[in-house]
Symmetry: C2
Subunit: 147 residues, 2 copies
């Protein structure tokens, strides 16, 4: 059974499941910031995925990227597998604007996270879940949204 890293669990909210990955929203209202977490244990690097999983990851990442780029009118996406602090493989997808706090630098480790309000969280979750509804299995009950 897949075990999510506890730091990822604490810092993000489940949006739904693709075939391979959990899609999670980082709880930082300063950036539209999502992560894809392949549901495979003991994987820290993309190359450690088997071929079929690599293809799924590419497909899910591209679908998410195009959706975010269009829905949030991004100037740029930052797509990255770092893992220096949380080794479990997770692929960041961050919508960047030329007016955001960190532009043109990277966002990691720059500013403390600012949690979403209940209303803003519901709004962004609904927006993304709706846009990805053909491919994303939504959490089975509302309580899951907070795990």
């Amino acid at each position: 059974m897949f075990e999510l890293n506890p730091v990822l669990e604490r810092d993000s909210i489940l949006v739904g499941h693709f075939l391979l990955c959990q899609l999670r929203l980082i709880n930082d209202a300063q950036f539209p910031w999502f992560v894809l977490v392949p549901q495979r244990n003991d994987i820290t690097e993309i190359y450690q995925l088997v071929e079929g999983d690599r293809q799924l990851l590419m497909a899910e990442s591209c679908l998410l990227s195009e959706t975010l780029h269009d829905a949030f009118s991004a100037a740029k996406l930052n797509v990255a597998a770092l893992g220096n602090q949380v080794p479990q493989l997770h692929l960041h997808h961050i919508v960047r604007y030329t007016t955001d706090l960190c532009w043109p630098g990277p966002v990691w480790g720059q500013f403390p996270a600012v949690s979403y309000t209940k209303e803003n969280l519901a709004e962004i979750l609904q927006k993304v879940q709706s846009l990805l509804s053909d491919d994303l299995k939504l959490p089975s009950n509302k309580a899951d949204l907070y795990y």
Copy 2:
């Protein structure tokens, strides 16, 4: 004909060509830091690549990642498409150590680059070219190494 962004050209050295990507070494001896640049014009995001190119990029990235991870005994790889400053799509592959200058933070924008010495440059190029010789077409003449 593919046109390389002039900033990428200035800041990196051609290692060789995969089927899709140029493999380039960032001229910063502080980190073993490579970029894959898909030889396609007017592409800024991975999702803009056609399906066949996405698969090539994944394959070339995984081959490079596994090679670097093993050859440099990496603690972690940082694999990232940012492009906030240089929009032409390029995928960073940075070997990270728990003892490096920026650990556990990201490396971008932290410290000015320190150029390789001629000897150290030749050594790292030869090492990586040798390990990837089955899949990498080497520059056709030595002068190309500095472009």
